[in-house]
Amino acid sequence: MEKAKEIAKQEEKNVEKTREMYEVTPAVDIYENEDEIFLHADMPGVVKEDISVDIDNGTLSISGVRKLETEGSAAYEEFLDVEYVRSFSVPQTIDVEKVEAELKNGVLKLHLPKSEAAKPRQIQINTA
């Protein structure tokens, strides 16, 4: 009897049904020049408000949640609402204060500037 009660309680708790959200890895391009590391990540359908970019202790984590509203019945679905998640190790020489991010047409572009100390420097040779 006690057991039957418990089961009923459990069911009550799960009234709200949510769709399971998958985590997927976004495709990225990574470029580098003397001044910065430049990263592009494909996140179609993600809006600016649902993207987070964190740099902590040499790890860059990007995450974006896609929430698309659907109407009507699905005849077929090849993509669903997902969370794009990926982390990278970045060198400590990245100037965290100056990191810039832009989102356009579902592509996240991240500029990770190198700190002054890490840039290659031309050394002047003085003739005595």
């Binding site: 990225v28 592009h40 679905e77």
Partner: protein
């Protein structure tokens, strides 16, 4: 037969290896099929919804501008084609390029004819939305009982 314990150990070792390989093969079992089998590199993934008198097609087209896309409709035939151009910045060293490039084309046969003159296409956040009103003859009709 087995003469030494190490032979048996090795046999089990091999079995474990095979087991692991099989596990990896089905590691993402249960996910929607598209996450298991990749489509032709640049071809966008699409969804099709049906709602009363319209169909809605959605396609993932990250990084594409509206001029990069072409949509053709005839009767119940739909073709989405386009080209994803390289956005590699000049003067940068490349570490990783995973994002597909090049042209793609996908063709669909819709469940019913659509009215090509009233199709609406919007591009938002890298997703193409196509609203395709069904043709007069394919629309749901209310039957009044006489």
């Amino acid at each position: 037969m087995f003469t030494r314990i190490s032979d048996i150990d090795r046999l089990f070792g091999t079995m474990n290896l095979l087991q692991r390989k099989l596990d990896n093969l089905y590691g993402d079992y249960g996910r929607p099929s598209t996450y298991r089998w990749e489509l032709d590199s640049a071809a966008p993934r699409t969804n099709l919804y049906e709602r009363g008198d319209t169909f809605e097609i959605r396609a993932e087209v990250p990084g594409l501008e509206k001029d990069d896309l072409n949509v053709k409709i005839q009767g119940n035939y739909l073709e989405i084609s386009g080209e994803r151009e390289s956005d590699t910045p000049q003067g940068y060293k490349i570490h990783k390029t995973e994002r597909g490039l090049g042209s793609f084309s996908r063709r669909f046969t819709l469940p019913a004819d659509v009215d090509a003159t009233r199709v609406e296409a919007t591009l938002k956040n890298g997703v193409l939305y196509l609203k395709l009103p069904k043709h007069e003859a394919a629309q749901p009709k209310k039957i009044s009982i006489g």
